[in-house]
């Protein structure tokens, strides 16, 4: 087994005319450890889909190299294809066929043979809760069912590396949960997942490591917690009951945190970053009580990935 299931170095890609200055990818690096879920985040047009398409052998890069499960995707695309699964931005199923027929079709094209394609289709229908709808036309499936069928099709071979390009866009919370469960099961079975998403909570929940990209480059690569630490770690947040108490609460927080707290007048809230989390929280609570300041809410908050994302991609978080 290779330590890195996906390893991309200096990927470059420019669409269309040679004199067009914009690069979809401009020296993109990525290292995905085997057996993990790796999130790829970035604003619209950052190059996420382009990167995934190159890694899935659908696009040829203009420069750089990429290995998937130890295979060079440009030199030996056939071998790479036997090791990957792809779920693109649109559900790639034949709507004129039933769910079962779709999976059998793809199973045969994966060269499983008729009999194994049939048993594998039944297994996957069962795993994705589609057994009941198995013999209905996929054209009549809901968005979530179609997505699950799509996911099932990409897992026919239990690929070494699975690419999911925004797998839950447009799904309701329940359907998203189902997709997440499916991904977790798959990872437990040894598959490595590269996930692009617009939902930061999704990356937070599934991924053990995240690459943030912008304008065709990786601009950060860390664990979700590591990324959050970059924007200042945990903060203590106080919401006072009376607007008049705001300056007093502010003073308390300033003393404990040792920094200048930020104030949100309209919501009667002050917050400041702290290092010694629990001790700081206890100290703030005790002091507030001693000084007789009525508190509506007191909490230790982790920064959301949204904060990280906005900070890193250069757009100011709406504070």
């Amino acid at each position: 087994m290779h330590e890195h299931a996906v390893l991309a170095e200096g990927l470059r890609k420019r669409y269309g005319k040679k004199n067009d200055a914009t690069h979809a990818l401009d020296g993109f690096d990525l290292a995905v450890r085997a057996g993990t879920v790796h999130g790829l985040l970035g604003p619209n047009g950052a190059g996420k889909t382009t990167a995934v398409r190159i890694l899935a052998t659908l696009l040829k890069p203009d420069g750089g190299q990429a290995r998937v499960a130890g295979v060079d995707v440009t030199r030996d695309p056939r071998a790479a294809r036997a090791r990957i699964g792809l779920v693109g931005q649109y559900a790639a199923v034949d709507e004129g066929l039933t769910g079962r027929q779709n999976l059998e079709l793809f199973g045969r094209l994966f060269h499983l043979g008729a009999r194994r394609a049939r048993t594998r289709a039944a297994e996957l229908l069962d795993r994705f809760g589609l057994t009941e709808a198995a013999d209905k036309g996929a054209g009549q499936y809901s968005g979530g069912m179609r997505r699950r069928l799509d996911l099932a099709a990409s897992m026919i071979l239990a690929p070494a590396v699975l690419y999911l390009d925004e797998p839950t866009t447009g799904l309701d919370p329940r359907a998203r949960g189902e997709v997440w469960d499916a991904v977790r099961t798959l990872v437990a079975g040894g598959t490595t997942v590269l996930l692009t998403t617009q939902y930061l909570d999704e990356a937070d929940r599934l991924a053990s490591r995240i690459t943030v990209m912008d304008r065709g480059r990786a601009i950060a690569d860390d664990s979700p917690d590591g990324l959050k630490d970059r924007v200042g770690g945990d903060r203590v947040e106080v919401v006072v009951a009376e607007h008049a108490d705001l300056p007093a609460a502010r003073a308390v927080l300033a003393r404990v945190a040792g920094t200048d707290p930020r104030t949100d007048e309209s919501e009667r809230r002050v917050h400041a970053p702290v290092t010694d989390r629990v001790a700081a929280l206890t100290e703030v609570a005790r002091t507030l009580q001693r000084e007789g300041i009525a508190v509506e809410d007191l909490a230790l908050r982790r920064p959301a990935l949204d904060d990280v994302f906005l900070r890193l991609t250069g757009q100011e978080a709406a504070a």
């Binding site: 036997a82 990957i84 693109g88 066929l97 094209l109 060269h111 499983l112």
Partner: protein, 274 residues
């Protein structure tokens, strides 16, 4: 984990999977029709309505040069028109697959890459053959016959399928050029006049003098005239060189179309990875 039966990287292994994957994709098309047999009726709707409309409503007003029954004259035109409109089936199927990401999925799988094209081609030919069979049965029912004998009759249907074969590549190319199925529908605006300005409904000799030669040199006209000749139906003899050598031209045109559009379609398909 399921294991992969990677196509043996020998020439024999590749050839085996090229055929097997092609057949899998043909099965896919046939399954689609089996689930929705009505689709084929829709596709045949236009020619059948045309037969009824032109054959029975306008038929008495239509003239066949050199005399003869208009319905007998019309049927080879309907066969050919159905083949020509088949281009739409190909283009629509291609654009719907590429738009939905099905083509991407195929391309990311270890299947034989050629099967995407050969599977499409063979499917379309089988469907075209079924359409011809249904249309011929309808024609026989309303009194059309082929007086040309078995050999020429089979050759006539062979030429019809040859035309359809050449149009597969035009259809694949068009399907890869247009952005979505709605845009593919707009191809009718091109195909419809092209089939009208031909010998399908009216002999070119009866058209205005500037239009007649255009219609006569239309590749569709060559197949129409050739099948009229081979089926022994009226209206086969025209004055121009291209009409007098219709069977030859019914071979030549599809070969030219294939020679032009097959490489274009392949180039366009390969450009997907650029």
């Amino acid at each position: 984990m399921s294991t992969v039966t990677t196509p043996a990287d020998t020439l024999g292994g590749r050839a085996y999977w090229a055929v097997a994957d092609c057949w899998t994709l043909v099965r896919r098309t046939l399954l689609n029709y089996r689930r929705q047999p009505i689709a084929i009726v829709w596709q045949l709707g236009f020619p059948i309505v045309s037969v009824l409309l032109y054959g029975f409503v306008f038929g008495s007003a239509m003239r066949v040069p050199g005399g003869g029954d208009y319905r007998e004259f019309l049927m080879p035109g309907m066969f050919t028109m159905t083949m020509a409109f088949g281009l739409m089936n190909t283009a629509t199927a291609v654009v719907s697959d590429s738009g939905k990401g099905v083509v991407d999925r195929f391309r990311s799988m270890p299947m034989a890459p050629s099967a995407v094209a050969t599977g499409r081609g063979l499917s379309d030919l089988l469907v075209a053959a079924a359409e011809l069979a249904i249309l011929a049965a309808t024609a026989l029912a309303i009194g059309w016959t082929s007086d040309g004998g078995t050999g020429p009759t089979l050759l006539g249907f062979g030429l019809l399928l040859l035309l359809r074969f050449s149009l597969i590549w035009v259809g694949v190319w068009c399907g890869l050029m247009v952005p979505n199925t709605e845009a593919a529908g707009a191809l009718y605006a091109v195909i419809f006049p092209v089939t009208m300005i031909s010998s399908v409904y009216v002999a070119p000799s009866l058209m205005p003098s500037w239009l007649g030669p255009v219609a006569a040199w239309n590749p569709i006209s060559s197949t129409v005239t050739a099948t009229r000749e081979l089926f022994g139906n009226p209206g086969a003899d025209g004055g121009t060189w291209v009409e007098q050598h219709a069977v030859l031209m019914a071979f030549a045109w599809p070969l030219v179309l294939t020679a032009v559009f097959l490489p274009l379609a392949v180039r366009r398909y390969q450009a997907l990875s650029r």
